[in-house]
Point group: C2
Chain length 228, copies 2
Amino acid sequence: MVQFLNKSSNPGSGKTVSERMRRKSEARRLDILHAAARVFRRSGVAAAGMREIAEEADLSPGNLYYYFSGKDELLFFCQDRTLDRMLEAAETARASTIPVGDQLRAVIRAHLHYTLDELEGATAHLEIDMLAENLRRGIIDKRDKYELAVRALITKGVKRGEFAPCDAALVARAILGALNWTVRWYRPDGAQSVSAIAEGLANYLVRGIAAHPQETTVPVRAQSGGRK
Amino acid sequence: MVQFLNKSSNPGSGKTVSERMRRKSEARRLDILHAAARVFRRSGVAAAGMREIAEEADLSPGNLYYYFSGKDELLFFCQDRTLDRMLEAAETARASTIPVGDQLRAVIRAHLHYTLDELEGATAHLEIDMLAENLRRGIIDKRDKYELAVRALITKGVKRGEFAPCDAALVARAILGALNWTVRWYRPDGAQSVSAIAEGLANYLVRGIAAHPQETTVPVRAQSGGRK
């Protein structure tokens, strides 16, 4: 499907005029996505309107429609980009040679970064029901793929003896639930940074299946020092 | 606020005529709530209409409005009842003399039972944004109270040395996120029963903070036998 935002295609073609134009258009589209994400966060996806998004992006409504066909498409791209990044993080973790517990921790950290720190992931990430059927399908497929990637990490950890034997599917869902729920309670002006939350959740959620949990840290607030 | 569904008031007044009528009216209201919950689950809260709910409850629309002023009020009562029951479960656990890990497990089990098994808790539980401001406030207060009850259990476990020192607020939110997220993926016709899911999640989520996690069970699918 539509994917010009995520691929830097034809790396060998040099900076031709059309390539520069394409990049400029992509940058413009990304600006618009960020503007839309700000409006989604501020007003809620249901209440956000194309006029408000156009204003936020400093565009005329007509100009906005030149880039995106409607709110549905904007929401789709916010979710699609976020999932692409999470899938990349899961693949990077999987391919690394660090202990599986650390791989899972890295995935958890990336997940929270992309949903809480990165503008287009925030809020919009969970509003999947608001997408039209044809767009929703693609997002659901990617979400399923991501869930399977998390589950595969857990299964690998069990096989290697790093994790205790467990129901990997159920644990993966518990982890994703704990992470996705942060969107409901996290406030950018709250007491804890995203990094601190990520560190705490990663430690707690990995400890629950660690074969030698005594060696892992439990999230302790404030006293843990150093971390940000 | 409105609360005639939850209190069996005046227990000493005997079964007078008005008492019987009150009970009958409450039973009728509960039937309607269950019908509304079925419609919410089937069509989604946003798409559900009072006409559809009336049909499901075998009432004329006019008769339905005699009992409930609108969809908003129906949604409110579904959520209010569910939260009351969860708060009761948390209080029962807190007041018991079993180990704190088992108290927390009991709360987790009750939470899943009330949100997945009990009709009025399902689906509607998370759609808080759809409530009008005046109704939402009461629900948010109860949710906060419930979250604090879960947090207090964790703090108690830490004090007693049953749990490792941890950020109780963050762990409580992780637990509630993992539990609330089940509404998104649980299917009544799926492979695992609510009890099996509850058992698995309780073990995983408590093990993550247990002071002696080696002694606790990790959720293992199928092989665990006996449980249902």
